[in-house]
């Protein structure tokens, strides 16, 4: 491979103009899943996961996160030139989530709209594209959303963690931003660690194969390549956010990359909301932005099965303090919780066989 700059930066500097998250109200404890499927035996990957209500899906959750992002951005929705929603649980097989979200927030009709798919990194993929659209000068603002109501087969390891939630980001000119996005880098290979075939309700996964060759390989490569390329080390970052399918993986990869548990703590939400798939890294970042100080540098690395990772170098500006209080904070959504039992969860998630 010829010598080239591996990290990517747009022509015009870009940043996060507004961000917003959403977590549904209901929680299913991992020990409740264990009670039903293993007689309560075995270790638990998280404490509890969020469960969407009967009237929620990726559309409704994206709308709420987008409204929060708009409230912080203080811009007219008419100035948004792209509405991109990354998810692996779009309500329709054919018919975009994005047009509905765009309509609900008042961004239609002069906007691009598309749904993105790449397992758990569909959201950050949309984010990279938004950087490109804004950074090239094609449009002033782009909305990138990562949101999921993740599916886990009853009894499967994924059922303990498959949660619901995500975040929305309005990307725009760096000078108006709450946080500049200095650079990004993506690392992608064909690695079948997790997949769902057409017409299948639940995904399949490679069990132990999902670890080393998939999650750890891609996140590490993306993070180290980005940091090496722009000349940073773990110590340059106040905070880091990694894709979080369970509590252990992000902690372990953080250690491997030289990050402390303190650095990942504000963005490590998986123990209390579960794995929100396309929303996971992006909602983790909202947890950080909710408490970050101007000047704080943040490394975010997503991971999507199949497989790939997008890494971002982000720097908080002084606009964060005035604008983050203009919408609901992620911690407030997390604190709003009603615990449900497995039976209610089965009903809420449409797992009851009616025919």
């Amino acid at each position: 491979m010829s010598e080239q700059q591996l990290h990517m930066t747009p022509d015009k500097p870009v940043g996060i103009i507004g961000y917003g998250s959403y977590v549904p109200r209901y929680r299913l404890a991992a020990k409740e899943v264990a009670r039903v499927w293993t007689g309560g035996k075995g270790g638990l990957p998280i404490k509890e996961k969020s469960v969407p209500g009967l009237d929620e899906d990726v559309v409704t959750m994206s709308i709420e996160a987008a409204r929060n992002a708009l409230a912080r951005a203080c811009i007219s929705p008419q100035d948004i030139r792209a509405v991109w929603v990354g998810s692996e649980s779009h309500p329709y097989a054919v018919k975009p989530t994005s047009t509905l979200v765009a309509e609900a927030i008042g961004a239609v009709p002069h906007t691009q709209a598309a749904d993105w798919e790449f397992a758990c990194k569909a959201g950050t993929e949309a984010f990279v594209a938004a950087m490109g659209l804004v950074g090239s000068g094609m449009g002033k603002y782009a909305l990138a959303i990562g949101m999921d109501t993740a599916q886990g087969k009853p009894g499967d390891a994924l059922e303990y963690t498959a949660g619901a939630g995500g975040a929305a980001y309005i990307v725009g000119p760096a000078e108006d931003s709450l946080a500049r996005v200095n650079a990004t880098y993506s690392f992608v290979t064909d690695t079948p660690d997790f997949w769902r075939r057409e017409y299948q309700k639940y995904p399949e996964h490679g069990m132990r194969f999902t670890g080393e060759p998939a999650y750890f390989k891609h996140i590490s490569e993306a993070a180290t390549t980005l940091m090496h390329s722009i000349g940073t080390t773990a110590k340059d970052y106040k905070w880091a956010v990694f894709h979080q399918p369970n509590t252990k993986f992000p902690q372990k990869v953080a250690g491997q990359l030289g990050f402390s548990l303190e650095q990942i703590q504000p963005g490590l939400l998986v123990p209390v909301i579960g794995n929100t798939y396309a929303g996971a890294a992006m909602i983790g970042l909202t947890g950080v932005l909710d408490i970050a100080e101007p000047g704080d540098r943040i490394l975010m690395v997503s991971f999507g099965s199949g497989a790939g990772s997008d890494a971002f170098d982000i720097e908080v500006t002084d606009k964060i303090s005035e604008r983050r209080n203009l919408a609901k904070k992620t911690g407030e959504y997390i604190a709003r919780r009603t615990e449900i039992d497995y039976a209610t969860y089965v009903r809420y998630r449409g797992k009851l066989a009616m025919k």
Binding site: G53, D55, T60, L100, E103
Partner: protein
């Protein structure tokens, strides 16, 4: 299927877009193009804040066809901050008791399918208790 019927109402349904009377500033929802306050033409769109309070409420156990999967659910007359009253479901109640005067905020949610699960999903406004510390 009633595709066009619901499509033409999407702005009202998704975003609580009503009207404001250019003559007397009266806020109108649902839109009716004529101001109920002064009787003049009022077609200017107005985005409601979605903030309001419960004026009255009850719970439905025997739901109409298409809504059974969500039963029991709570419905309310919600008095919007800008004046008008709307009929709407309350959602995300958890175990939270509802009372007259309770502050609520608009959210966009799934209402029902148009027909069965092969039909389009109809989305619209509902209200939920205001999240703690945000009002």
């Amino acid at each position: 299927m009633e595709i066009a019927r619901h499509w033409r109402l999407k702005q009202q349904r998704y975003g609580l877009v009503g009207e404001v009377c250019p003559h007397c500033d009266h806020k109108i929802f649902p839109p009716r193009d004529v101001c109920p306050n002064c009787g003049d033409e009022a077609k200017e769109p107005f985005n409601f804040s979605g903030q309001g309070e419960v004026f009255s409420f009850t719970t439905i156990y025997e739901a109409p066809a298409g809504f059974e999967a969500n039963a029991p659910y709570t419905v309310a007359l919600v008095k919007l901050d800008e004046g008008p009253m709307v009929t709407a479901q309350l959602t995300d109640l958890g175990e939270q008791p509802v009372e007259i005067g309770m502050p609520v905020e608009m959210v966009t949610r799934k209402m029902r399918n148009d027909g069965d699960e092969r039909g389009v999903i109809l989305y619209g406004y509902k209200f939920r208790p205001v999240l703690a510390g945000l009002r």
